[in-house]
Symmetry: C2
Subunit: 333 residues, 2 copies
């Protein structure tokens, strides 16, 4: 039986704990908030996130990271992207000797432009074959309702990816395996920026042709950037590229899309932040992704446009006009 | 100034005539129905399709195919897929000596499993460099409202593709060019089948993860089939693959998606046909696409499943269970 520690009790951490338990594993959830931990241990529910999801007796919770990680085969990281470095620095000494670290996080660290698995390796000193990532069309509320979906588990060591996949394979959650960690992580990070652009189009009352065009060309720029960083371009046509992007852009639950819609309707950044009660992930990461692209000489017009609207005062209407007035060319060009 | 004949006065033919005129060309629409022709010539509107779209004085219409095609540089074909062979056989002798034939049609001919450009070549005897195809996220009602979108013009001769692209490039319609005629056409045909599957999922109240997974794996099987037929796999990540597929699957206007929803809610094929008032394109083409796949030894589980539900009495619920119980593997495998 696989023993897992899931570090983080937000929606995705909680839903993934359920998946691991459903696959037959024993799971310890770690969270900072005692009320959430107590809810899981007493009522088998996380009262703060997905409160309708009943967790099995195989899932317990603790506020003590040492207790969560003791004897774990898998240490699943599900904290906010920009908080990872600090959290993990405190946990470093507690990681069991042979555990595999599994990142559920999507983002690029501000300042360093490192992907999450790179931050994990830098902080822990672990080799790449001890670090796996999981990404795909995995909106947590739908997984909590056991609706069928698929995902990709990637690790530079394919046997490790396969072991992690076995630990989370259930009748409704279907993990494929792969080795392209760079591509899997980049797809997850850039999709938030593309979802902002799709939201802007929706906010301007544009239709499905326009949204589909933004998604397609957005994925093309993600693939260009990924290829420059060493990813396999075909990864972006897969579940963690296209799949995750579509789910995010279709879903009315997506914070990035909703945030973009507000900007598209003419609200200011401050108004959108106030209404959404938090800053959408893409608002934070669009600048680090633009920085990555510039460092590698890659053309990312949609990301550039999103940065210009979100941070530099360009109107969404002017963004649309500037994208359409670029020189025509061959599609792959 | 480019002179075009647009053969067919349905939604896409009418909207594309507007695009050609907006790009500065002169357009003659051909249609069988005198009332539609008269509407265009008298009121600059097609009263049968997109009646709110005002056409410029550069667009006229006729019921006489000879008059429509006389002196045309481009002959744009926009008739129903399964009617192409018969219509074109009657027009063959009227095609001007240097005209390029441009197919807007999406489908695979029943019985022969030929793509539309293959039917064009077979009927006219023209070489491939005289036949271009156009496909992309191009829902006609949105183009009629001049909402921004992009498309791909493909021809084995890239200069011809570029000439056709110039003839239809406007501020809101952005044609990219390419040479992968096989991939562009196949994407357009298979997307109707995938949209049926996405509709079934929606009809069963499944969420965006499931839909995104079907779209992603559906595109993967389209790419497998296309590659076996000689297409460039990257075409399917582009506007005529992914882009068109997303627009179709997102749009509440898509007949294929709506049809699938009815089946997903438990209606019979006969009930769905009665309610939709016509058979969706994917219902017709799923069998010829399955036949193509079997002839080339390509695994197309979603297409097989759609055929089984639509024509062989499998329930949509059983389709979902059978897709999820397939052996897990690497994503590209």
């Amino acid at each position: 039986m696989t023993r897992s520690a899931v570090m983080g009790m937000g929606s995705w951490g909680t839903a993934f704990a359920m998946v691991l338990a459903e696959a037959g594993g024993q799971v310890r959830l770690w969270g900072r908030r005692a009320d959430l931990v107590e809810g899981v241990n007493r009522d088998h529910r996380n009262p703060g996130y997905l409160p309708d999801l009943e967790l099995s007796h195989l899932v317990s919770a603790t506020t003590d990271p040492a207790q969560a990680m003791a004897g774990a085969d898998l240490v699943v990281l599900a904290v906010p992207s920009q908080a990872l470095r600090q959290s993990l620095s405190g946990w470093r000494a507690l990681i069991p000797g042979r555990a595999v670290l599994v990142s559920l996080m999507k983002g690029v660290e501000l300042g360093t432009t490192l992907r999450m698995s790179q931050v994990v390796q830098e902080v822990t000193g672990l080799p790449s074959e001890r670090v796996a990532v999981i990404s795909g069309p995995n909106l947590a509320p739908e997984i909590a309702r056991r609706q069928p979906t698929a995902s990709v588990v990637a690790c530079t060591d394919h046997d490790v990816a396969e072991r992690v996949a076995q630990a989370c394979a259930t009748g409704f959650f279907r993990p494929y395996t792969g080795v392209d960690v760079v591509g899997i992580e980049l797809g997850g990070a850039v999709k938030n920026v593309i979802a902002l652009a799709v939201g802007m189009a929706a906010g301007m009352d544009l239709g499905d042709n326009t949204k589909a065009t933004i998604i397609t060309r957005g994925l093309a720029e993600t693939a260009r950037l990924g290829t420059a960083l060493g990813a396999d371009p075909l990864t972006f046509a897969g579940l963690a590229g296209l799949g995750d992007l579509i789910a995010t852009c279709m879903s009315p639950l997506s914070r990035n899309r909703t945030f973009g819609e507000r900007l598209g309707r003419g609200e200011s950044l401050a108004q959108a932040v106030a209404a959404n009660q938090q800053v959408a992930e893409g608002v934070k990461s669009c600048r680090s992704i633009r920085q990555l692209a510039r460092e590698h000489g890659v053309d990312v017009p949609i990301t550039e446009g999103v940065v210009a609207v979100v941070h530099e005062g360009l109107s969404p209407g002017d963004l649309g006009r500037s994208l359409l007035s670029r020189a025509r060319r061959t599609e792959g060009g």
